[in-house]
Amino acid sequence: MELTGAQALIKSLEMQHVEVMFGLPGGAILPVYDPILDSSIRHILVRHEQGAGHMAQGYAQVTGRPGVAIVTSGPGATNVVTPLADAYMDSTPLVVITGQVATTSIGTDAFQESDITGITMGITKHNWLITDAADIPRIVSEAFHVATTGRPGPVLIDIPKDIAQSTMEWYWPSPGDLDLPGYRPVTEGDPALIREAAELLLTAERPVIYAGGGILKARAADALRELAERTGIPVVTTLMARGCFPDSHPLCLGMPGMHGNYTAVTAMQKSDLLIALGSRFDDRVTGRVNAFAPEAKIIHVDIDPAEHHKVRRADVAIAGDCRLVIEELLMALESLGLSHSDATRGGSGGTPSDAVAGATAAAGSVAAGFPREGLAPWRSELSAWQKRFPLVYDQQPGAGPLKPQFVVEQLRDRTPEDTIVASGVGQHQMFASQYWQFDHPYTWVNSGGLGTMGFAVPSAIGAKVGRPDKMVWAVDGDGCFQMTAQELVTASSERIPVKIAILNNAYLGMVRQWQEMFYEERYSEVYLSPDLPDYVGWAEAMGCVGIRVESSDDVGAAIDKANSVDDRPVVIDFRTDAFEKVYPMVAAGASNDDIMVDPSQVGGNPA
């Protein structure tokens, strides 16, 4: 069967079971857009290509399947550079297809020519420039294979216009036809190292499981839970890993890092054994590296061996898929005498979190009732910290300023517990991560490594496309919202009913916080205004329902109203306290020992 390159490309995507792609056409990609009309693949027309990339990321983060974006050459291609960099940092599988000028024009500075394979070399796992239509099925297969196996990541396929228009004889490659002699990702861990890790696990006195995004990539949440419950070792979940271990679980300590809670941060600091599972010792977690967890031995499991010893030397470095390694670790533990019957499944001693307004709903206490009696003193120390340093804020009723944390808690309590939450980058992101209760994997969509403002709206749309059965809320900042809000037009026209909560503090709040704390309150270019733009008017102009909330009294009703809308997006403009700060905080470059708690908790001896 003879096909054009364009037809072969779309057919190859169909063969890869692509159900949706996000994109926007233009000159160089025109030939590829024609067969889209006849394809089973849904195409979502975005308003800016950055939106296409972030939608594909949101889709990928909640489904585990690769997200697909398709754009034209030149500016279309450069507009997806930010999502590619973001996906590369957060190991999100993406396949981005870019049009390119004809092969005969490449290198001549032709109209809308850009060297997108050169530009994205350092921010993709790999990229391909197609030079022969006959290569298309093989390259598409290779691209999906590379994006989704090993440490996942974004890939890019650049297709010149003349290649899309030329013809080829259709075939579909078998796995053996892939031409990737240099690509052999590891999966199973070394049994000797796993046994060594198991021995450390059984003798540590202050162990902490440091769970990262790799748990979610490896679909290892169940295995992690079993490991924690069988060993009684408490778990911290990084910003990238929120939801991989239930926040409501008595062994869950919540998020560590720059804005992590006191107990999670301090547990790692004081630990004698960190079991890093799919986490990478990011500077936002470690604080000053040479002061990080000084007494801890390190077990580091990662599918990417280059993460081992990169930041912190590991005592046992296991290259492998987190799920497989944890399963092997459980067997090793059993053979070392940790029997099944020791385990108290589900945990008996967790006191239900007291729903005091202003206190976090995170786990009550790191309970007794788990195996390894020797860990009891450690768990009670952790419980004491949790009691002494919960997350706090002060919402005065009525006319007092509306606290962003209160909004997040109300959202959490008034939506289904498996609601998907996307966020932008800034204070609102930290409040969302801190105050949401993540009890399910793949319910948190977030730009962790790159920290891309404007991520929330498009990634929430992509998430809703991937999981139409779930409610999807974006917790966004006013600054972030203004960067990509136009995609709500996409959502309205495609009837994608996402919900956006803008925590509108009229500032680039996170930067304002740093200027307040570290630049003597010299506020430089951070004020945005609460009502320019008019968010409600803007939302309505984009086909959404717009709601404004100024008082804490109206928060609940507004959320309930938003939840009842199912045929279009909703935007709520929450006018929040401009001067609220995110606590706890470890200042950039400081040691995690110098964590700053909420001023109301200062005093007395924290240790």
Binding site: G122, L129, T149, P181, G182, P185, V186, D304, A319
Partner: protein, 186 residues
């Protein structure tokens, strides 16, 4: 310290890569992005037309060797990497130089080239072009000595290397001290 990477903080990596366009750019871009220093780099086809061999001398003070090798290994077209400790490798390099060689010094230059077993490859009225192949440290010494006469232009190729053969067992196995990467990064 030698400018050309003959001291201890330099390691030689021989990297087998797919013979596809852009491979060298990927390697170079990785080194610059991650702040690794390259002392020399030589690329040539290998005995298999599908693959090329890149010989890179890296500065292991800019980053630990382990990191450099693992990051390199993550590049999809990189098929295998072998590290050669200079102590266990036969390393060779080629130097071409045009040097001042007027009537007064011409004899001395020719003599020096002879001592180093180099060759005169071109002769002009006031200059000689010379060639020298050998171990990088020998080239360093030659360069130091010839500089006194005045170097007009000089090029060195960067080194290529093979593991030393085992003296006892001549089956052509890599000698101890060489490390083949065994696992590929995801």
């Amino acid at each position: 310290m030698s400018m050309y990477g003959t001291d201890k903080r330099h390691h030689t990596l021989t990297v087998l890569v797919e013979n596809k366009s852009g491979v060298l750019a990927r390697v170079a871009s990785l080194f610059s992005r991650r702040g690794y220093n390259i002392f020399s780099l030589a690329v040539a086809p290998s005995d298999n037309p599908k693959f090329s061999r890149i010989t890179i001398v890296v500065d292991v003070e800019s980053a630990p060797l382990d990191q450099i090798m693992k990051q390199l290994d993550k590049l999809i077209p990189v098929v295998s990497i072998r590290e050669l400790d200079p102590a266990d490798a036969r390393e060779r390099e080629l130097l071409l130089a045009t040097v001042e060689a007027g009537p007064d010094t011409r004899g001395q230059v020719i003599q020096l080239v002879g001592v180093f077993e180099g060759k005169i490859v071109d002769v002009g009225p006031a200059h000689l072009s010379v060639m020298l192949a050998g171990a990088p440290s020998k080239l360093d010494d030659f360069e130091d000595l010839i500089r006194g006469y005045g170097i007009v232009e000089m090029q060195r190729t960067g080194r290529v290397a093979l593991p030393m053969l085992d003296r006892v067992d001549h089956r052509g196995q890599p000698a101890t001290g060489t490390a083949d990467t065994t696992e590929k990064a995801g």
